[in-house]
């Protein structure tokens, strides 16, 4: 009941939608970036790291329940990556978002376990890095004036959501589980609107904090995150801007590209063709195999049910 408003739709990828290659590559990238963030934040906060990061992760998790009605039964949600980035700086924000997405996946099945690396990467890392890059750039352009907090907050929250959704669609297309020419415009289009909700909420939150606890807005500023994150943001934003329209012109998904490059054949088909046209001993075709598997499966489930019922009966006899 509660888990429905906990997450905005179509961003948490469940298991089964990403190819193993995409999942593993993104898990490795995520582990590396989270490890670096863990060290950086530990250096900055020291022993305050555990309580502060823990409670703020809980606050973002709870904050994702806040919504406002838009029209026709839809509602705007807070994702929180932009707000966390602006308030805490990119490293702490990556850490907080990784905890939020991890708990959502592990406990509430909001996003899969094998797909968790990708989910943290999309919402936690891409969202944070792009937000940081744009916010910092706008703040510097406006030479740190007050209005740049709000304009920067609005634009960077919007761009963070849109890039995160585009990269999600790209990953699905590369995995061959959706058609790039439909998914990328659809995901992008929906999140252009969702992004406005996120941007408005982020500005509202920044305004609230600016007038009540302006000192909190200085925490993120105090730690200039360095050129590396800024550059990464620029590269990611540009790469997604170039890759997604390019990808969406291939109706057949990115598999078409993969086939042209030949790596799909190497990655997918080769291991399956070790024994070409091999027929399983005694089992003529796939339909028959499915029937045999169905019989075996039914026997297994029936056997477990029988064993449990038997064990339970024994237990009740003992307790009597």
């Amino acid at each position: 009941m509660l888990s429905a408003p906990l997450s905005p739709p179509l961003m948490h990828i469940p298991d089964g939608f990403l190819s193993i290659l995409v999942s593993v590559v993104l898990w490795i990238a995520t582990i590396g970036i989270v490890a670096v963030s863990l060290q950086r934040v530990n250096r900055d906060l020291g022993e305050r790291q555990v309580p502060l990061m823990g409670v703020l992760a809980a606050a973002i998790f709870a904050g994702q329940m806040l919504n406002f009605p838009v029209a026709g039964g839809t509602s705007g949600h807070l994702l929180g990556a932009a707000l966390a980035t602006i308030l805490l700086g990119p490293y702490a924000a990556v850490l907080v978002m990784a905890c939020v997405i991890g708990v959502q996946g592990l406990l509430f099945q909001d996003g899969g376990l094998l797909a968790m690396g990708a989910n943290i990467f999309n919402m936690g890392i891409v969202g944070v890095v792009v937000t940081h890059f744009l916010y910092r750039t706008l703040r510097n352009l406006g030479s740190g004036k007050r209005w740049t907090i709000f304009v920067g907050g609005f634009a960077s929250a919007w761009l963070g959501v849109v890039t995160a959704s585009l990269i999600t669609a790209l990953e699905l297309a590369i995995s061959g589980t959706t058609a790039a020419n439909i998914a990328i415009p659809a995901m992008g289009g929906v999140h252009v609107l969702i992004g406005f909700g996120e941007a408005l909420i982020t500005v509202g939150a920044l305004a609230f904090l600016y007038f009540t606890r302006p000192d909190l807005l200085k925490i993120g500023e105090a730690k200039p995150a360095g050129r590396a994150v800024w550059l990464a943001g620029l590269v990611i934003a540009l790469a997604i801007a170039v890759a997604s329209p390019l990808a969406s012109s291939f109706p057949d998904g990115l598999e078409w590209v993969a086939e042209q490059q030949g790596f799909l054949n190497n990655a997918h088909n080769a291991p399956y063709q070790i024994i070409p046209d091999y027929v399983f001993p005694g089992i003529g075709n796939a339909a028959l195999a499915t029937i045999v598997a169905g019989v075996i499966g039914t026997l297994v489930v029936g056997g477990v049910a029988f064993a449990l019922a038997y064990a339970r009966r024994n237990r009740s006899v003992v307790s009597n």
């Binding site: 409670v55 973002i60 806040l66 592990l106 589980t177 959706t178 058609a179 305004a207 904090l209 169905g294």
Partner: protein
């Protein structure tokens, strides 16, 4: 504390509840990896995977109905795979026109969509069983067991303790807003100003929540420091995994490998 029902853990004494949490976590991951490695359309192997997850559900005594109902939550994402029906080339199934476009559905596309939906469905069921039969402290132990840094595990542990407090706070904020902006049950009647105004109000609530988070974090740190916390995360050494469970896990992974091999031989 009003939101204790947020905790997916169901207390019990079943075989699955009693398994070592590390064994459960690795088993669940191995199952999900197997499901996602299976080729599209390997229905024989899918049926075996379904039999495995149903057996685990039976053995966990959670009630299959409970797991299946929760598994429905993940279904909206299947929408993302629907375009495949029309884009995967193959045997013609049907065509229809919508304005200027003509859609051609292929048998292979439908099979791929059903395969993805099925894989996702059985994977989420296994993840539900894991979360429902393992208490949170045990999940933390499993996370440590598979090598997640202690510091990160400590942050997640503290987060879980305060999630209930902060979700309660968020619910209070939502209730206060509902009480003050005149919600009406009447359909189609807009209340509470323009969209921008509503969004800004929600933003204020989010800012409020984060501010309280900061302040609470500081107080918790002060309390921890007063009790001797020095930044070092100390934890009991992990207990040994019983030998029988090692064998069980090994056998399960061997079985998954057999299913993979079997499906590749049949479909490949």
């Amino acid at each position: 504390m009003h939101v204790h029902f947020l905790d997916p853990f169901h207390n019990g004494t079943s075989l699955i509840h009693r398994l070592d949490p590390r064994v459960k976590l690795v088993f669940t991951l191995a199952y999900i990896v197997t499901a996602s490695l299976l080729p599209f359309g390997a229905w024989a192997a899918y049926v075996l995977l379904l039999a495995i997850v149903l057996s685990v559900e039976l053995a966990s005594e959670l009630g299959i109905g409970y797991v299946l109902r929760r598994a429905l939550l993940a279904t909206p994402f299947v929408l993302a795979a629907v375009p495949l029906i029309f884009t995967v080339p193959g045997t013609l199934l049907f065509t229809f026109s919508l304005g200027a476009w003509t859609f051609t559905a292929s048998l292979e596309g439908v099979e791929r969509l059903l395969s993805i939906a099925f894989k996702s469905w059985v994977s989420v069921q296994m993840a539900i069983v894991l979360a429902a039969t393992t208490s949170f402290p045990n999940l933390l132990m499993a996370m440590r067991g598979i090598g997640i840094p202690r510091l990160l595990v400590a942050i997640v542990g503290l987060m879980w303790r305060y999630i209930f407090v902060l979700v309660d706070q968020a619910l209070r904020l939502l209730r206060a807003r509902a009480a003050r902006s005149g919600a009406t049950p009447e359909m189609g009647r807009r209340v509470g100003g323009s969209i921008v105004w509503r969004a800004q109000t929600t933003g204020g609530m989010a800012g409020n929540l984060l501010m309280r988070g900061f302040e609470r974090g500081d107080r918790i740190y002060a309390a921890m420091a007063a009790r001797g916390y020095d930044g070092e995360v100390r934890a009991f050494p992990l207990p040994q995994v019983p030998l029988t469970q090692w064998f069980g896990l090994g056998a399960a992974i061997f079985l998954f490998a057999l299913i993979l091999l079997f499906s590749i031989l049949i479909v490949g």
